[in-house]
């Protein structure tokens, strides 16, 4: 499996921790406080944004795995898709949670229908449906096939949803979570890059761990079948 080339889970976790802890320290003691009205609460950005990008990365992995499954029918791709969507959903829920806390700190409201929060809400509901789909299809091959089809159209829908939210009229609270956009200050950008790398490593580590679990589950099922055959 290509992922094994990334290294053992342990190494990935250590790497992730190193980057994340360093990034966190830099965020508070090196990067300047945001000049806008967000002030100190902007510090949440250094984890919030990487988590969001990793969620989308996980869904992209699921998309690729789905395409590969439909092409090759190898169950390893179904397992990869399942694990990726699960992690993507976890990351998406975290985006929502941190986004809401940031919103409360910066703007005084727990929720606002601004494009990014709304998109991630829809994304959560969308990929939650993935699990409902898997649960209600009993035949294994069919389940994997349908899950793959869904993972493909779901991923395609994410950017469409984001663009569509632009059509929503701006509410009373024009909440916008940006930090100077692409023109972040040097020190902010550096810190952000560190946490971004760290979060990606964390995603890879969790993926490896969960994939190992799925592989073991299959091995266990095969052993059980052998045991019953012999008995």
């Amino acid at each position: 499996m290509a992922l094994k080339k990334l290294g053992s889970p342990a190494a990935l976790f250590v790497g992730a921790a190193a980057f994340l802890v360093t990034g966190l320290l830099l965020a508070f003691w090196y990067a300047p406080t945001d000049a806008s009205t967000m002030g100190f609460s902007q510090k949440i950005f250094y984890f919030h944004a990487p988590i969001a990008e990793c969620a989308l990365l996980a869904f992209a992995v699921a998309f690729v795995a789905a395409v590969q499954y439909l092409r090759t029918q190898k169950s390893v791709y179904d397992r990869l898709g399942y694990v990726s969507v699960r992690l993507g959903l976890l990351f998406s829920l975290l985006v929502m949670a941190t986004g809401m806390i940031w919103g409360k700190a910066a703007w005084g409201v727990w929720w606002a229908w601004e494009p990014r929060l709304t998109t991630f809400l829809v994304v959560c509901l969308l990929y939650a449906a993935y699990f409902v789909l898997r649960q209600t299809v009993e035949d294994e091959t069919r389940r994997a096939t349908f899950a793959a089809v869904f993972a493909i159209i779901a991923f395609v829908d994410v950017p469409l949803t984001f663009f569509a939210t632009r059509f929503m009229p701006a509410g009373l609270h024009p909440v916008v979570f940006t930090t100077g956009g692409a023109r972040m200050e040097g020190s902010m950008l550096f810190t952000f890059c560190l946490t971004m790398i760290g979060m990606t490593l964390l995603l890879a580590a969790l993926l490896r761990l969960e994939l190992a679990e799925q592989a073991l589950k299959e091995e266990l099922d095969e052993l059980k079948i052998r045991a019953e055959a012999g008995a």
């Binding site: 609460s41 949440i44 949670a97 059980k224």
Partner: protein
């Protein structure tokens, strides 16, 4: 919002993140260990069974 309050929220956000990832890692590791144990146990049992049947055939 005062700095005091802001710090509380920022700490809260990072706390949520920490808890979520730790919980995810811990539950995955726990399930992995339990599965490894089950696989090993089943493998041992199957090997033992194959040994006894092989031994039994020799006797005949």
């Amino acid at each position: 919002m005062s700095l005091q309050e802001a710090v509380k929220y920022v700490a809260g956000a990072y706390g949520v993140i920490l808890v979520a990832f730790f919980a995810s890692y811990w539950s995955a590791a726990r399930r992995l260990r339990s599965l490894e144990r089950q696989v090993r146990a089943l493998k041992d049992a199957l090997d033992k069974r194959e040994q006894t049947t092989a031994g039994g055939e020799d006797d005949v």
